[in-house]
Amino acid sequence: MQSASSSKVGAAAWLVGPAFFGLAAWLWFGGGGVEIPRRPDVPVDLRRLSTAPRRVTIGDPPTIRINNYERHCNDCHQVFEISEEQRANRMQHQHVELQHGINVQCRHCHDARDMNGLLLRDETHIAFAEVDRLCAQCHPKVHEDWVLGIHGRINGHWDPAQGEVRKLGCIECHDPHRPRTPAMDRLAPLPGPHTLRMGEPAVHGELHHPEERDPLRRAAQGLGASKAEEHR
């Protein structure tokens, strides 16, 4: 019995070496690589990441280009006086579409006597650079926030000791003639996240058509549903 078992041992032990060689060969040639789901990088157009103000302002004192000549406002307006009727004939200012609440005439903001600047309600003439004082007349709360650095954007430095604190002015974002342009706060979003092995976004799209149990939100969604449809 003992000899039988030891010969069995022998036979089995002989197989170990070749079996390992087989395993080695399989690992070397057959062992496949690992699939890592890759996604070709689609670089975002850097122009869409511009930190420039959204509006280009026309300088102080402002200039306008007519027939290839840079002109100051007063170059013309010393000659052409603006009157109550001027809105009918806007001459060089065809593109201006004035939709700014109760301000329906140029002279409500511009100083008709000296068009290089603006006019406050108390008849003070101010330069274009101080436009925020003009805005502050009707928007004091926002202006207060802007002064404190709460409203609007600050480019450059947060620390005045180390560099320029470039606080963007009112009209570097808002169009003074038409502050509520549809395009003011509407943008095409940049691509959403696409992390490794993310799979299909789970709650995506469901947000606007959920099974809503909360009565408050249900009502809110009922009201907004048509708008959302239109939007998508």
Binding site: A19, R48, G149, I154, R186, A188, L190, G224
Partner: protein, 304 residues
């Protein structure tokens, strides 16, 4: 069978087994031939923890990293190790009433901070939420509307909140992440062992792990680098938003703020009572995300 033949047989059998075993072992470890050993330098291995480095050690480490970056990206980086500024604790405030969810901040951050493009790593997540609730469980991270904002939604960007009581720092077994004097939670990418415990501990999903070797197009590398912030990372380590230390410790605004088209983001020094963030804390209605977690964020949301 004599003793001799048995012995010889035993010996042969054992040798064959041992040779086979060694061959199989060699074959098993053969994938290591593709291992990128540039990551395993002796200098890197012996490098001390950031807080234990002498100025000379630091300069040596900075020089090593400069060389590595230059070799890999063919760009000589402006790598520095900016210290926290005395009397400054950074705070961030975000106006939820303004944010339109355009994701400019997300991508400006990627460009500024040299995140991996593939696999994709982004520090900022913008959540689209239905009006009337700030329940993040109902948020959509993947909205792809033609234009934003959706009139029924509001948007909440989330990034590292630089907690004053950071759970991620607490759990790190090797102190590879800590809170700096200016309140920013940083990671020593050369010390992190990659256990991802901090990712499990973070209530804001702010931590990102390099599951593979990061890929950054050479021409998109930002050469303005800082040791504790946006220098290129290696695979296997954790990273996160650090309020653009390479900028903010030089007095500049973070990249996500400068790109915001609606001015929803405000950044400044909380210890300066006149700073914009201090004013916001004083005058606006503020809330912090997951206050119940007790993390004391330095990132505030407000409305106006």
């Amino acid at each position: 069978m004599t003793e001799r033949t048995v012995d010889r047989r035993n010996f042969l059998r054992a040798s064959l087994g041992a040779a086979g075993g060694m061959a199989a072992f060699a074959a098993a470890v053969s994938p290591l031939k593709d291992f990128d050993t540039s990551d395993l330098t002796l200098e890197g291995f012996l490098q001390k923890h950031y807080k234990e480095m002498t100025p000379e050690d630091k300069e040596q480490a900075l020089e090593r990293i400069r060389k590595e970056v230059e070799e890999r990206y063919a760009v000589r980086p402006e790598l520095r190790d900016l210290p926290p500024i005395d009397g400054v604790e950074f705070g961030y405030a975000l106006n939820l009433g303004r944010c339109i969810g355009c994701r400019r901040c997300v991508h400006a951050c990627v460009e500024e901070n040299n995140q991996s493009r593939d696999p994709e790593i982004q520090y900022i997540r913008v959540l689209e939420l239905p009006r009337g609730s700030i329940d993040v469980e109902r948020s959509d991270h993947h909205y792809d509307d033609r234009e934003v904002p959706n009139p029924d939604s509001f948007y909440m960007p989330v990034q590292c909140h630089q907690c004053a009581n950071p759970p991620c720092v607490k759990v790190c077994p090797v102190e590879a992440t800590w809170r700096e004097a200016d309140g920013v939670v940083v990671v020593d990418y050369d010390w992190c062992i990659g256990c991802r415990y901090c990712a499990a501990a973070c209530p804001y999903f702010a931590r990102r792990f390099n599951y593979a070797e990061p890929e950054i197009p050479k021409e998109r590398l930002n050469p303005n680098m800082n040791y504790l912030s946006n220098r290129p990372r290696k695979k296997g380590v954790m990273e996160k938003c650090h309020f653009c230390l390479q900028r903010t410790r030089a007095g500049r605004m973070p990249a996500c703020l400068e790109v915001c088209p609606v001015g929803a983001r405000q950044f400044g020094n909380l210890l300066d009572p006149e700073s914009n963030v201090s004013q916001i804390l004083k005058t606006k209605q503020i809330f912090v995300l997951k206050q119940e977690a007790g993390t004391l964020p330095r990132f505030f949301y407000y409305f106006d």
